[in-house]
C-alpha cells in the first residue's frame, strides 16, 4: 500500500543515505536544491548534517563527532568510518592534486584517469624495487579501497589491457580529504619521519 504521508523529499533523502548525490544525477540534484531546508531540518533531528557543495557539484550527509561535554548520551555512529592505509592515503593525495591540476587546465568538468596514469603518479612514492611488477600489483590494493569508499568510480573496463581500466575521480574527494584531513596526514607523517622531535 502506498503511504500518502511520504515526504516529497523522501527520494532525495534515501538517495543521500546511499552515498553522495552529484550534479550529474540531474533529477535528484534539482530536488535536492529545492528541498534543502526541509532536508536539513529533517536530518538535524537525528543528529546528521546535510552538506551541499554547489560549486563542486555534490552533496552528502555528515555526522558530527559526538560532543562529550554536553552530557547527553552520545548517538551511535551511522556514518561508516573507513581506515585508509599509508598507500591509500598517498593515493588520496595524488588524486586530490590531479583534480586540482585538472581544474586549472580547464578541459571539461569530470576527471578521468586510467589505471596506468594513476599508478605512474603513485610509484614515485615508493622505492624502485627489483620486482617492479610486484609493486604495480600491490598498488591495486589502494585503488580498490578508494573504489570502495566512492572516491574512484570505474567507468571503463578494458578486458585486454587492465592498465587501460578507466576511473573517474569523484569530486567528493574534496570533502573527504579536505584541508583539515591534509593537516592530519601531514602531522602524522611528520611524527613517523621524525619521532624524536615530538
Amino acid at each position: 500500500m502506498a503511504n500518502n504521508n511520504i515526504s516529497p523529499f523522501a527520494h532525495v533523502f534515501l538517495k543521500l543515505m546511499q552515498g553522495p548525490v552529484y550534479e550529474e544525477d540531474k533529477a535528484y540534484w534539482k530536488d535536492l536544491l529545492g528541498w534543502q531546508t526541509e532536508l536539513s531540518k529533517y536530518l538535524n533531528q537525528v543528529g546528521l548534517q546535510l552538506i551541499i557543495n554547489e560549486s563542486d557539484g555534490f552533496a552528502r550527509i555528515q555526522q558530527p563527532e559526538a560532543d562529550d561535554s554536553s552530557g547527553d548520551k552520545p548517538l551511535p555512529r551511522l556514518m561508516r568510518k573507513t581506515r585508509l592505509t599509508y598507500e591509500a592515503t598517498l593515493l588520496c593525495i595524488v588524486l586530490r592534486e590531479a583534480l586540482d591540476e585538472f581544474d586549472i587546465q580547464g578541459n571539461g568538468t569530470r576527471l578521468f584517469m586510467t589505471q596506468k596514469e594513476i599508478k605512474e603518479r603513485l610509484t614515485l612514492f615508493f622505492k624502485e624495487r627489483n620486482n617492479k611488477s610486484k609493486l604495480l600489483k600491490d598498488l591495486n590494493k589502494p585503488i580498490n579501497s578508494l573504489l570502495n569508499i566512492g572516491i574512484l568510480k570505474a567507468t571503463r573496463e578494458d578486458a585486454a589491457n587492465k592498465e587501460l581500466h578507466q576511473y573517474e575521480v569523484k569530486r567528493v574527494i574534496k570533502a573527504l580529504v579536505n584541508n583539515e584531513k591534509l593537516e592530519e596526514i601531514k602531522s602524522k607523517l611528520k611524527l613517523h619521519v621524525n619521532p624524536v622531535q615530538q
Binding site: 563542486d56 561508516r80 593525495i93 581544474d103 580547464g106 569530470r110
Partner: protein, 487 residues
C-alpha cells in the same frame, strides 16, 4: 612573410605539419569519408579505430611513413589503426577527449578543418562561377555603405531610388507579361556558392569553440599564478566573461544563434530550402542527390549547440574555481600536499606500516537484516502455478479479453493524432494532445504516448514536470514533446 617568419611557421604550424605528413593523402581521404561525407561532428574512439582498420585493409595502405614506429610493421591492422589515431591526436590533427560518460571521442581539429577545406579548393571544379560571386561582392558593398549611413536624408534618397527601380520592374512585367529569371547556369552557380558557404560556416564553428576555450584557459592560467591580487583576477574574469559575449566573434555567434532559434526564421528557411530543391527538380538540374542543404539546419543546430554547451561547462567550471573560498582553500591544499610529498620522499626507505592509518567518514552504514541474502540460497523463480480450483485451466478467449481489453490501445490512432497536430506545428506536447483529444483510455493511453515518444529520436522527453489532467485527476509526469522529424 620574411624568411624567418616562414621558418618559424613551418616549424610551428599544425596546419603545415598535416600537409607535410607522408600519410596525408590516406589521412585526409579517411577523414573525408568518416566525418565529412556522413556529416559527423564527433566519432567515438572505438568506432574510429574500427573504421580506420577497415580503411587500411580496403585501400591496401602500406605504412611507409614514419608516423608509427617501424616495429609496428608486424602489427595487425587494428593495432596500426590505433597507433595512427593516437599519433594524430598527439600531434593535434585530431581532437580526443572523454565525453560525459568517460568514453573517448574524436573530432577534427580546427587545423585539420582548414587543411581539408583548402585541399578541396584545389580540386578542379566543374566550372568557376564568377558572376554570382561578383554580384555577391557588389551587393555586400552596397549593403555595407547603405546600412552604415546615418544621414536620414541620404537614406531616404536611397530608398526612393529602390522604390523607383521596383516600380519600373513591376511596370515592365505588367506590360510584357514576362519575368526575368535565372537561367540554369546561373542557378547552378548560386547553388554551388550557397553549398560552399554553408559548409564553410559549419567548419568555422570549431574555431569559434576553440577560441572560447582559449579565453577560459587564459583565466585559469592567471588564476594559478600565486600572487595575483584577487581584485585583479576578478576584474580580469568579469572582463573575459564579457569578452566572450562582446568580442566580435561572440557577438556574431550569439546573434546567429538567436536567428537559428527563431521559429519564424526556421520556418522561412525550411520553406526556402524546400523550394530550392523543388526548383532543381523542376529544371532538371543535376545536384548529385546532395541533401546537404536539406539537413543544414540540423547540422547547424548540432554544431552550434556544441559551442553553447562547451561554453556553459566552461563558465560553470570557472565560477567553481574562482569562488573566494575555493581560492584560499586551494592554495592551502597545494601547500599541504607539497609538504606531505616532501615528507613521503623522506621516508622512502622506511615506509610506514600498519600503524599508519587515516580514518575517513564515507557512506552511511545501513544493513537491514531482512535484506540479507545468502548467496548459496538464491532461488530461481519458480514456474507460475495456479492453485487448484482457482479459475481452472480453461482459458477461453473471453477470459483473456477481459484481462487484456483495457490495454487495447490503438497505437496507430495515437500516432495519427500526433502527425495531424504536427502538420501545422513544429512540436506538440503530450499535454496539448490530451487537451485536444482527451484520454478516454486513461493511464494506459498516456503510457502508449510515452512509448511512442521513447521509440523515436525526434520526440523528446524532458525532466521538467508537465502535469496532465485526466478527468478530475492531475497526473504528474515529465514533459513529452513530439517534434516534426522533417526539420
Amino acid at each position: 612573410m620574411t624568411y624567418d617568419q616562414l621558418c618559424n611557421l613551418y616549424a610551428q604550424s599544425v596546419t603545415l605539419k598535416i600537409l607535410r605528413a607522408r600519410s596525408a593523402p590516406m589521412m585526409l581521404s579517411f577523414f573525408h569519408q568518416t566525418f565529412k561525407e556522413k556529416n559527423h561532428t564527433t566519432v567515438p574512439n572505438v568506432e574510429l579505430v574500427t573504421r580506420l582498420s577497415d580503411y587500411l585493409v580496403i585501400t591496401g595502405y602500406r605504412a611507409t611513413d614514419d608516423e608509427i614506429d617501424a616495429t609496428g610493421l608486424l602489427d595487425n591492422e587494428d593495432e596500426r589503426a590505433r597507433k595512427y589515431i593516437e599519433q594524430w591526436s598527439n600531434k593535434g590533427f585530431l581532437r580526443k577527449y572523454p565525453d560525459d560518460d568517460g568514453n573517448d571521442i574524436h573530432e577534427l581539429s580546427s587545423d585539420m578543418e582548414k587543411v581539408m577545406h583548402w585541399v578541396s579548393t584545389l580540386q578542379k571544379r566543374e566550372f568557376v562561377g564568377t558572376e554570382s560571386r561578383f554580384k555577391d561582392i557588389f551587393s555586400k558593398l552596397k549593403e555595407l555603405v547603405d546600412q552604415s549611413n546615418k544621414d536620414p536624408k541620404q537614406r531616404i534618397q536611397e530608398l526612393e531610388r529602390k522604390k523607383f527601380e521596383i516600380e519600373q520592374e513591376i511596370k515592365s512585367i505588367t506590360l510584357s507579361g514576362k519575368v526575368q529569371v535565372f537561367d540554369d547556369t546561373q542557378i547552378k552557380e548560386r547553388c554551388y556558392d550557397v553549398n560552399r558557404m554553408s559548409r564553410e560556416l559549419l567548419s568555422d564553428f570549431k574555431e569559434v569553440e576553440q577560441n572560447f576555450e582559449q579565453i577560459t584557459q587564459e583565466i585559469y592560467r592567471k588564476q594559478s599564478e600565486r600572487d595575483i591580487a584577487k581584485g585583479t583576477l576578478l576584474a580580469y574574469t568579469l572582463d573575459s566573461f564579457e569578452a566572450l559575449r562582446q568580442k566580435d566573434q561572440g557577438k556574431s555567434f550569439y546573434s546567429f544563434w538567436q536567428f537559428l532559434m527563431d521559429e519564424n526564421k526556421q520556418e522561412e528557411m525550411r520553406t526556402l530550402i524546400e523550394q530550392l530543391y523543388a526548383l532543381l527538380e523542376d529544371r532538371n538540374i543535376e545536384y548529385k542527390n546532395d541533401r546537404f542543404l536539406k539537413k543544414l539546419k540540423q547540422f547547424l543546430h548540432a554544431s552550434g549547440k556544441k559551442v553553447i554547451d562547451a561554453n556553459k561547462k566552461l563558465s560553470d567550471k570557472l565560477s567553481r574555481v574562482l569562488s573566494e573560498k575555493n581560492l584560499t582553500d586551494h592554495r592551502k591544499a597545494m601547500e599541504l600536499i607539497n609538504d606531505i610529498r616532501q615528507l613521503a620522499f623522506q621516508t622512502l626507505d622506511n615506509i610506514p606500516g600498519e600503524e599508519f592509518y587515516i580514518e575517513i567518514e564515507s557512506d552511511p552504514e545501513i544493513d537491514m537484516l531482512d535484506r540479507w541474502e545468502m548467496a548459496e540460497d538464491k532461488k530461481t523463480h519458480p514456474d507460475v502455478e495456479f492453485p487448484d480450483g482457482l479459475g481452472g485451466n480453461d482459458f477461453s478467449a473471453s477470459d483473456l479479453d477481459a484481462l487484456f481489453n483495457h490495454f487495447n490501445i490503438d497505437r496507430t490512432l495515437l500516432e495519427d493524432r500526433i502527425n495531424t497536430q504536427l502538420q501545422n506545428k513544429k512540436q506538440v506536447s503530450l499535454k496539448e494532445l490530451v487537451d485536444i483529444y482527451g484520454a478516454e483510455k486513461g493511464l494506459t493511453e498516456l503510457i502508449t504516448y510515452f512509448s511512442i515518444a521513447s521509440q523515436s529520436s525526434s520526440h523528446i522527453i524532458l525532466e521538467t514536470p508537465d502535469p496532465v489532467s485526466l478527468g478530475e485527476r492531475i497526473i504528474n509526469m515529465p514533459m513529452v514533446l513530439f517534434t516534426n522529424s522533417q526539420n
